[in-house]
């Protein structure tokens, strides 16, 4: 079966480094967010270590995401076709691919998720700095710290919801996980899920 390259090694390493950071951040953040989940602080070595490490991992994740986003933002620019794709979300969920407009390298849903991630991570970074003790929070007026706390939680929930969808989509659409693990997808996969992208690859062949 013919295969085509979808992600380079560099992109895959970058992606999984972000994923690891995200798991640590989401679990340690939820631990401080809801009392029922405080036991998750053990993941990073207790409550105090969670308070100390969470912000540093957060900055690392933002930097890693920024590196990936710089390479991919152009491919994630939302076009009229993507908007049409998103409008037909019921066809998407039902798996009626034939009714959807042909997707490029990324489909409308992936692009939307990209911008949701970019936006929420930017909010998380800025508000996270505002909450960061002992370094930055003491320098800010208390109202700003309160806003930071609220917005940090809200943005985190949006990001976590986005990632739940992201992970599920990768699990549902068979072959997707292989793309991020080994970098390659089958021609059939590319033809079915990203026809316009597949076409452009074909056109480039001599």
């Amino acid at each position: 079966m013919t295969q085509v390259e979808r992600y380079r090694a560099r992109e895959r390493i970058n992606h999984w480094a972000i994923a690891l950071c995200f798991v640590l951040l989401a679990l340690s953040g939820l631990a401080l967010f809801h009392p029922s989940l405080f036991f998750l602080t053990h993941l990073l070595g207790g409550g105090v270590w969670t308070r100390i490490l969470h912000p540093f991992i957060g900055v690392l994740m933002f930097a890693l995401f920024a590196a990936l986003a710089l390479r991919l933002w152009h491919a994630n620019w939302i076009t009229a076709l993507d908007r049409q794709w998103l409008k037909q979300w019921q066809d998407v969920l039902a798996g009626r691919k034939e009714r959807l407009p042909d997707a490029g390298r990324f489909n409308g849903g992936q692009k939307l998720l990209f911008w949701v991630m970019a936006g929420s991570m930017l909010i998380l970074l800025l508000t996270g700095i505002g909450l960061w003790r002992p370094y930055f929070a003491p320098l800010l007026p208390i109202t700003l710290v309160r806003w930071a706390a609220l917005l940090h939680s809200a943005a985190a929930v949006v990001l976590i919801l986005g990632i739940v969808v992201h992970v599920y989509a990768a699990f549902w659409v068979k072959g997707t996980l292989d793309a991020m693990l080994g970098g390659k997808v089958s021609a059939a996969w590319a033809r079915k899920h990203h026809r316009a992208w597949y076409q452009s690859l074909q056109d480039r062949q001599p």
């Binding site: 079966m1 631990a31 401080l32 967010f33 809801h34 009392p35 029922s36 405080f38 602080t41 409550g47 105090v48 969670t50 308070r51 969920l93 039902a94 798996g95 909450l131 003790r133 002992p134 929070a137 003491p138 208390i142 109202t143 710290v145 309160r146 806003w147 706390a149 609220l150 939680s153 809200a154 929930v157 976590i160 919801l161 739940v164 969808v165 599920y168 699990f171 549902w172 659409v173 068979k174 072959g175 089958s186 059939a188 996969w189 033809r191 079915k192 899920h193």
Partner: protein, 291 residues
């Protein structure tokens, strides 16, 4: 169990009720601003009883010494020169934790049991459980808790919970030479305050009154103020309450967020059950099954 005279009725980051069968006397401390002479005996007594001593600092241009509350100064006399009726008044207020009935610090704290409220009304920090996140600072409507630079733990007035537990009054009360600070059951203290207010009114302070703000459910440190209509004269908030930002953050968002995340995960699972795997290649069909 904690000392029985210090039954805990409320505990930070805890979703189930604390032992609440026993009832105990609700206590309060009253600070009569009109009888304070600014001698700072209370500050000294606080340092001595609690074994905390601030580094000697710089004069900040006023009698406030140290300039503000800190991890080692749990109470500070604040001096205000004001002219509320065109006449100079020198008001001196002992600043420190108000021991709210509805404490914003406890509500904001994410560490189970790092902040507790005793049945007698005292709000206490159990510093060994403190993780140093500073949420209590964001939660407090009175700007009281201080995070130590030394150990990243939060500190504030304990209302001498250790003394109160064995039937003694707080150290500051014990040391006050004018009786400006008194201590007892909240009921008794309120009565004493009423007498003071009546006396002040007869001396021309028509707006004298008790500061026991109901926005935080009342407090267990109360003030008698000469100008209770203008508490801002002594830098007290007029209608203190837990900030709505903190209430939403610590109230609505918690169940909503967990519900949304749970729903997304469950929704995904059942979507898979309903729609099945999304496959690019159809497996080759070798046997035709008549339907």
């Amino acid at each position: 169990m904690s000392l029985q005279s210090l039954d805990i009725v409320s505990r930070s980051a805890t979703t189930t009720p604390s032992p609440s069968v026993r009832t105990t006397l609700e206590i309060a401390k009253l600070i009569d601003v009109s009888s304070c002479i600014g001698c700072k005996a209370c500050q000294t007594a606080c340092m001595e009883w609690n074994d905390v001593q601030e580094e000697v600092g710089q004069n900040a241009g006023s009698f406030d010494n140290p300039k503000d509350l800190s991890d080692k100064s749990w109470t500070v006399m604040k001096f205000y020169e004001v002219e509320p009726a065109g006449k100079l008044e020198w008001l001196i207020r002992k600043d420190g934790c108000m021991h709210c009935t509805d404490p914003g610090c406890l509500k904001a704290c994410p560490a189970p049991g790092a902040i507790v409220q005793y049945a007698n009304g005292i709000v206490d920090f159990q510093s060994e459980h403190c993780i140093g996140c500073g949420y209590c600072v964001a939660g407090c409507p009175f700007d009281i808790p201080r995070i130590s630079k030394q150990d990243s733990k939060a500190y504030k007035c304990t209302l001498c919970s250790d003394r109160v537990a064995v039937g003694m009054e707080p150290a500051c009360v014990k040391s006050c030479p004018t009786g400006a600070i008194s201590f007892g059951s909240k009921e008794d203290v309120r009565q004493h305050a009423e007498q003071r207010v009546t006396d002040l009114k007869s001396r021309g302070f028509q707006n004298a009154g008790l500061y026991d703000p109901q926005g935080v459910g009342g407090t267990h440190v109360m003030y008698v103020l000469q100008h209770a209509d203008r508490p801002e004269l002594v830098a007290l908030p007029k209608d203190p309450a837990i900030s709505p930002l903190v209430s939403v953050w610590k109230g609505l968002t918690k169940p909503l967020a967990l519900l949304a995340i749970g729903a997304a995960a469950l929704g995904s699972f059942f979507h898979y059950i309903k729609v099945g795997r999304n496959e690019a290649e159809k497996p080759e069909v070798t046997d035709k099954v008549e339907t």
